[in-house]
């Protein structure tokens, strides 16, 4: 019945084949990228060595948006075509995305201390990311709030799509709110033009993070499938006992 839509066993084999192609390049890119970022790129003329936080902060921000987009897409696929692996993929992606978002907020805060002399500034970008973080938390909380897991994943899928439509509106509002309330003297994160010696490690980190996400996603999907299988087995057992 479910096989007509997707075959978990086939997916499992595909995942096993793909895994090393994601995991190894991810590891290599992140290590090499970090080396360039920490030792082999120029310090900023204004910010000094603190600018190196950017090499984690900016890719983490990219990932925060990228993962949410992927969640919304797989949620839509799950709702429209009732593809069971699609919901599973959204479910697997959410905590990873939330972690990237948290890393982005944390590094933003660490960056803010030397730059602005305070751990938190209501900067437009950071505030938008904070709200995105709440959207992730809402998704995960809704997913786990029901006794019937199927209900949780479908409701969370609807929420992911609503959130996705809202992200640009929130971003626009927060940008607007920020220009209204903040004097222009605040240094923007995107302030200085980026030199290519900084751009290359930044892209390496970005691609590395993306591949790392793919590897982690496959791993988590497999874990969730195993958990579901265990649940199915105990349920079958229960059913057999009541039938006897």
């Amino acid at each position: 019945m479910i096989q007509q839509y997707a075959n978990p066993a086939r997916f499992n084999r595909l995942a096993a084949t793909l895994m090393p192609w994601f995991a190894w390049p991810a590891g290599i890119l992140i290590v090499v990228g970090l080396y360039f970022a920490l030792f082999n790129s120029p310090p900023d003329y204004q910010q000094g060595d603190t600018v190196r936080i950017m090499y984690v902060h900016v890719p983490a921000a990219w990932m925060a948006l990228f993962v949410y987009t992927s969640m919304a897409l797989s949620s839509a696929v799950g709702l429209i075509w009732k593809h069971p692996l699609a919901h599973l993929s959204a479910q697997a992606a959410a905590p990873i995305g939330a972690c990237f978002t948290f890393v982005c907020l944390l590094t933003g805060s660490l960056w803010g201390k030397p730059m602005w002399g305070t751990w938190w500034v209501w900067d437009a970008r950071l505030t938008s990311v904070l709200i995105l973080f709440f959207l992730y938390l809402g998704f995960m909380a809704l997913q786990n709030a029901f006794d019937d897991p199927a209900r949780g994943e479908r409701s969370a899928a609807i929420l992911a799509i609503i959130g996705f439509i809202n992200v640009p509106i929130i971003k626009f509002s927060v940008d607007w709110w920020n220009t209204l309330h903040q004097p222009a003297s605040v240094v923007k994160m995107s302030g200085p033009a980026i030199h290519s010696s900084m751009l290359i490690p930044l892209f390496m980190m970005g691609i590395g993070f993306t591949l790392y996400f793919c590897a982690l996603l496959l791993l988590r999907m497999k874990t969730l499938m195993l958990a579901r299988r265990a649940r199915g087995m105990s349920m079958a057992q229960l059913h057999q006992q009541t039938a006897e």
Binding site: L79, L142, D147, R151, L159, I169, I170, W177
Partner: protein, 221 residues
């Protein structure tokens, strides 16, 4: 009589029989707003400066408390099944529910808002904008809250979870609601803010019934 009118009449009849539920929400609104001066001190200039934000934030928090009752009783006693099996599509049921929520919660909050503004000594030039933004913003909140209520229907965490889902989504309404009042007080044009809020309302009016109906179908499944 059309199904929409019948459902709306049912909702209003039920709400009026349990008018205490709405009254308690408005009471919470006033009480929460009264708390702030105890926290920050009674300095008139500061209170006047805070007024638009306090009115809007406390109105939102009060509205949060009301959403859980929107579908839960109907879900638990089987009325929602009967509404779903009625002649009207669920989208229309969702719209009727949101309209009834606005009439019984949004409108009373809107009427109580100037009272709190008086307590905070909102400058006279701000009242027009306050009422207009409330008139445009509270229906939007009712509509978005309806989605949240439908999504969390039958969940273990109910109300708190609902707030977690809805609060991030209504940040834009809060931003432009307070900004319009601030602009009016400062003598700046408010047209742009109000048009944006009108846009949010129209967008919510079109999209939220679809999302609510989809969520209700999942809940009944």
């Amino acid at each position: 009589m059309s199904a929409l009118v019948l459902i709306l009449r049912r909702e209003m009849r039920l709400a009026l029989r349990q008018i205490g539920d709405s009254a308690i929400i408005v009471l919470f609104f006033v009480l929460a707003a009264v708390l702030f001066p105890f926290g920050v001190g009674p300095e008139p200039n500061m209170l006047a400066r805070m007024a638009p934000g306090v009115v809007w934030v406390t109105a939102l928090l009060a509205a949060m408390l009301s959403f859980e009752r929107l579908f839960t009783p109907d879900f638990e006693d089987g009325s929602l099944e009967q509404l779903a099996l009625g002649p009207a599509p669920l989208e229309m049921v969702a719209l009727a529910k949101a309209a009834a929520h606005w009439l019984t919660t949004g409108l009373p909050l809107m009427i109580a808002a100037p009272l709190i503004a008086v307590l905070y000594r909102l400058p006279d030039s701000g009242y027009g904008a306050l009422m207009t933004t409330m008139a445009l913003g509270t229906p939007t909140i009712s509509l978005i809250g309806t989605v949240g209520a439908a999504l969390t229907l039958g969940s273990r965490r109910g109300g708190v979870l609902l707030s977690l889902l809805v609060i991030p989504l209504i940040v834009p309404v809060l931003i432009f609601g307070t900004a319009a009042i601030d602009a009016a007080i400062g003598g700046f044009p408010v047209r742009q803010h109000l048009m944006l809020m009108g846009g949010f309302l129209l967008g919510a009016l079109v999209l939220t019934p679809l999302a609510t109906a989809a969520a209700l179908r999942q809940a009944l499944e």
